[in-house]
Symmetry: C2
Subunit: 332 residues, 2 copies
């Protein structure tokens, strides 16, 4: 039987700590916030008292007074087929935020612009991280309007008023082309979800990088943004006796792995799968081991996003900036 709200014993306040330490309430506050010098002796007494009582400052009161909730709102997209990837970001963001003394509050995409307005106006969140923005996203307006510092993960079409952190997709394109050429491929087959291609601009940036560098060499680029399940068959069909085709996709790596493994090798004289690997693919790591892999660095992107937000929050006058993280080849 749960203890009722009323009979639950009240946690100690800073006044209790002050009394036990024989100092004033404000001194306790200063010890905690460090916003004014305190003698070693009294600091020790106060900290003792804090431990003894198991005191934690009341979040509501602190927020009310200081206008800082210590909470960062994380706008999460509706779960789609890429759930595993999403969880990697969310986990890393939450851990990094906690390391900086902030908590993460979920704001679902479902709530839309109204949800943003709510968490902002009520003062629950003092900053925001936005993930997977569409090209035109109704949720951007209330964020800007709120004036709160924010970071978007994923580079939007236009430079917004907040900071941006993302993988360098253009470089990714150049890396894939370079590797394909090195490995003696004549053709590069790019697969992926057609829906994603339409809605998000990371695909366009990637393609820009590909075309940019493919132009300089003899590599023929083929776009295959039809259903993922047909990837290996189409790849085989497109393959000619004396040619070698490299395959790559930003999404659908797992499906491609399985499908190709089922109909033949991931790597042989006629084809070479290059994988955008990631923490969500641990379950297929044996398969992955056979192919060249690029790390999309999702953990780093997440951590940088949080660090960047903390910078905007804590450094007065800090301006927004763009950080593109370089993809990396995974060493065999």
């Amino acid at each position: 039987m749960a203890v009722s709200r009323a009979e639950r014993k009240k946690p100690p306040t800073s006044l209790d700590v002050a009394r036990l330490a024989g100092v004033s309430q404000s001194t306790v506050s200063y010890v905690l916030t460090g916003s004014r010098p305190i003698s070693e002796a009294t600091r020790a007494r106060v900290e003792d008292a804090i431990d003894k009582l198991g005191y934690h400052p009341n979040s509501g009161a602190r927020t009310l007074r200081s206008q800082r909730s210590g909470v960062i709102g994380l706008m999460v997209p509706e779960a789609d087929s890429d759930d595993g990837v999403l969880m990697v970001f969310i986990g890393a963001i939450a851990r990094e935020a906690q390391r900086h003394g902030y908590d993460i509050l979920l704001v679902t995409a479902q709530e839309g612009a109204r949800g943003i307005r709510r968490v902002v106006r009520t003062g629950v969140c003092e900053a925001l991280i936005l993930m997977e923005l569409d090209r035109q996203d109704e949720r951007v307006a209330p964020v800007i309007e709120s004036g709160l510092p924010f970071v978007t993960i994923g580079k939007p079409e236009e430079f917004p008023q907040g900071s941006v952190v993302d993988l360098d997709f253009e470089m990714l394109g150049r890396m894939v082309v370079a590797r394909a050429v090195e490995e003696g491929c004549d053709r590069l087959l790019l697969f992926g979800s057609p829906d994603r291609k339409r809605r998000r601009n990371d695909v366009s940036r990637f393609l820009a990088g590909v075309e940019d560098s493919a132009g300089e060499c003899e590599l023929e680029v083929v776009l295959d943004h039809e259903a993922l399940s047909g990837v290996p068959e189409r790849a085989l069909r497109l393959t000619l006796p004396n040619q070698r085709t490299a395959l790559f996709g930003i999404t659908g790596v797992r499906q491609a792995l399985f499908a190709m493994a089922a109909t033949g090798a991931l790597v042989d004289e006629t084809r070479l799968l290059i994988a955008l690997s990631g923490e969500d693919l641990v379950d297929v790591s044996p398969l992955l081991a056979a192919v060249p892999q690029i790390d999309p660095r999702r953990i780093e992107v997440s951590e940088i996003a949080v660090a960047e937000l903390v910078r905007l929050l804590q450094i007065e006058g800090a301006g927004p900036r763009i950080t593109l993280v370089e993809p990396r080849w995974v060493e065999g």
Copy 2:
């Protein structure tokens, strides 16, 4: 350039609303909380003013005064290979919580018991949802000690002081056995992650259900909790000419699907894959279509967990209870 904290214009308070509506501050409050009858006329004026100003009650002040933060803490496990599944739960929980007027704050497993103590003592969370508890979990103690209402998703060994919501794994076991027999199978091969089997007790409950009902029929049960990748080969090896083997696993369904599809049919005279399907498997739905599927009802489990927590929060004297959700066959 972000607007600095100081120059950001302050949101309207209930006093602003009161002035605009020509009533007292308390009347505004009563309109909002509904804790006292208000005449239609003044209610209308107040609501008008609220809209006009875009007023939202300040969360810090409300929390301080009422001891309710409107925030539910969600203890999320470290991301593992089952990330997609996790995201289904989290998304559904966040959406359902919002429908009830609560927000979800993430508490990572990494923070451990100390994290629980922190969010509880500071008053950020007024209730908790615990996911994926280990058999012995250090985080349970501080939760109970806090006296806050809580719900665990996943039935623990012992009945805790909070409510429990989970899939009925015993019934799942009986359903799998019954179907295998109906389909003319002589043998049931159970695969899954050995680690999970050791740490979590849903597997034991499932096995109890299986053994319970397998005893009554001629079905031979084989446990295969070695590496998932070997599943289809072992299944084939174990298969005898005149026999039919049913295959089932609580985890690793996607891997099994791909692996079996690669080495032969999912369903033929010698074998029958039964899949624990779920929202995280959309990417392989074409494969799934060919086999009998059981819905693990993760969305329902999530929604019930939230509803149950809301009940504990809002109904004075409500006691904890156990809710087991029945698995369901997915209709072809």
